[in-house]
């Protein structure tokens, strides 16, 4: 508990120095009588990978969906790049959202489009009148970044689970986001592909200097990618620290993830 408070204090000091990119303050969310998030406070610093660990149904996905506006929290503040997004007008909100990328648990590739069209879709809607040559170049570059240049004209149904995640990541990276949100990026993948995806997350962090939130219950993914880990239980952040800190935590619930 003391280490949590120290950590939050340190982060707040960094915030005052302008290092943070995202800060959540007192976020609450309920669905009917079911309270999913209870007074969530967290900070993500520039270039940092923050892993959120927790059992299924503890509100991890709801938390990151609040960040991109897919779910509206009941109250609290969400400050992204120094602006409380709940107070922004639609036009300004769109500008903030452009800097956030989201990799969905299911990859969410558009089934009726080829890989190329999947990547072109956000580009064409984000930038008006972008020349076709530039689109082609950006699509190829994004696919090369995830090692899937050869899959450009394939339909999503022909891709394996790991390839779908990569294409999903390429589609997100094509807009050059500054914050990446990964919703269970290794779920449903074999250990080798999981490791490849985890390495890819690290590569993205290094190459694009992105700040990321990675939702997972895959401890190996957390070990490989995390600069800092938060453990959630029943909608509350119950522990925070580095992988080593939490591995040796006296809390039985927290330690159970690392055994």
């Amino acid at each position: 508990m003391t280490s949590n408070l120290t950590s939050i204090k340190t982060k707040l000091e960094e915030t005052q120095n302008g290092h943070f990119v995202l800060r959540m303050e007192h976020i609450n969310k309920s669905f009917g009588n079911n309270t999913v998030l209870r007074d969530i406070n967290l900070i993500i610093n520039k270039g940092e990978n923050l892993v959120i660990l927790g059992k299924s149904g503890t509100g991890k996905s709801v938390l990151i969906k609040c960040i991109v506006g897919l779910i509206e929290p009941d109250d609290g503040k969400l400050i992204i790049f120094g602006r409380n997004i709940f107070e922004l007008r639609e036009k300004d909100l769109i500008e903030v959202r452009k800097k956030i990328g989201f990799l969905f648990q299911s990859s969410a590739l558009y089934d009726s489009m080829t890989v190329r069209e999947n990547l072109e879709f956000p580009l064409k809607r984000q930038f008006d009148k972008i020349p076709k040559e530039n689109i082609n170049m950006l699509v190829k570059e994004a696919l090369q970044n995830v090692g899937l240049a050869e899959a450009i004209d394939i339909m999503p149904s022909e891709l394996s689970g790991g390839m779908r995640k990569r294409v999903g990541l390429a589609r997100t990276l094509i807009l050059k986001p500054e914050i990446m949100l990964y919703d269970e990026p290794t779920t449903g993948l074999d250990p080798i592909t999981s490791k490849e995806i985890s390495n890819l997350i690290l590569e993205v962090q290094k190459k694009f200097n992105t700040s990321s939130i990675i939702i997972t219950h895959d401890i190996e993914c957390a070990r490989l990618t995390a600069n800092r880990i938060i453990v959630m239980k029943d909608g509350v952040c119950c522990a925070e620290g580095t992988y080593t800190d939490l591995e040796n935590s006296p809390d039985v619930f927290v330690r159970a993830f690392f055994e």
Binding site: K65, V68, G69, L70, I94, R97, K98, I100, F102, F104, Q105, S106, A108, L109, Y110, D111, F121, P122, R125, Q126, R171, T172, L175
Partner: protein, 279 residues
């Protein structure tokens, strides 16, 4: 929750003999659900009307959907139209023959098909094929988070998915009805010639002599409303489906049921309005 209530001791209402708790548990949520659904579909329609006029316009997607919805429905609509024309002619002949009015057969079949049977039957088939297709497609996109993915990439999924499909359905159904009517009349011609002989020229000139503007115009206008209702209901059910694979089936099923019901309701209103003007 309601099932638990049903297992508790129940007091019967004096009027109906139905257990009070049972009647409250069943009727109140159903009533509430019905009005919530009406409210929700009204909001959805208003959003459509707002988005349809707002640029940018998804012209490519509109063209693609029009092709898929229109061209894709041609074989089914064509076969059904032919059978309707043929069967209607075969079934009507004995009755007309009783009154010595067999020569009226082409005119009677044409008026029936063009004023009522063509638009309604085509719309019902369209609701089954296109309405359920839109419902299932959008629901599966919802389940697999594709709609969310469009939203987070700052696209407008409503404009891209809903506006294009509703517009396509509205524009394609009238064309399909004209096609179905033409095929049905060909079927009728085949039916007439099964037990007798009439030249194509005589058959079609009898039809055109019997048809008036008041037969064609209202029938054509109401097909736009049918198409709009089918596209809107299919999109609404798919776009707002529950998460999970069960939601896909439910969306497709309820899209067909609700769209078919809407076709009959619009038809009833259209007939009333038309008869007001004709009198």
């Amino acid at each position: 929750m309601e099932k638990i209530i049903l297992q508790q001791p129940q007091n019967e209402t004096p009027e109906t003999g139905v257990p009070q708790i049972f009647s409250e548990a069943v009727t109140q949520p159903a009533f509430k659900k019905f009005f919530l659904e009406i409210y929700s579909i009204t909001i959805f329609t208003l959003r459509f009307l707002k988005e349809v006029l707002k640029p940018p316009f998804e012209i490519n997607e509109l063209a693609k959907q029009s092709f898929l919805i229109g061209y894709g429905s041609l074989p089914l609509i064509g076969i059904t139209g032919f059978i309707i024309g043929l069967v209607l002619t075969i079934q009507s002949r004995p009755t007309l023959a009783k009154f010595g009015a067999e020569s009226w057969l082409p005119a009677m079949v044409a008026v029936s098909i063009i004023r009522e049977i063509g638009p309604v039957i085509t719309a019902l088939i369209f609701a089954g094929k296109v309405g359920s297709g839109i419902g299932a497609e959008l629901a599966s996109m919802n389940v697999t988070e594709q709609i969310d993915a469009m939203q987070v990439s700052n696209s407008n999924p409503f404009k891209y998915l809903v506006v294009t499909r509703v517009l396509s359905a509205t524009l394609m159904l009238p064309i399909l009805v004209v096609f179905a009517d033409a095929i049905a009349l060909s079927g009728s011609f085949a039916g007439v010639n099964l037990k007798g002989h009439i030249s194509g020229y005589l058959f079609f000139s009898q039809i055109f002599q019997s048809l008036e503007f008041k037969d064609l115009f209202p029938a054509f206008i109401k097909t736009f409303l049918f198409g709009f209702a089918i596209g809107l209901v299919g999109s609404y059910k798919g776009y707002n489906s529950n998460k999970g694979t069960e939601g896909v089936g439910k969306a497709a099923n309820s899209a067909v049921v609700f769209a078919s019901l809407m076709v009959f309701i619009i038809d009833m209103i259209a007939v009333q309005i038309t008869s007001l003007f004709q009198n």
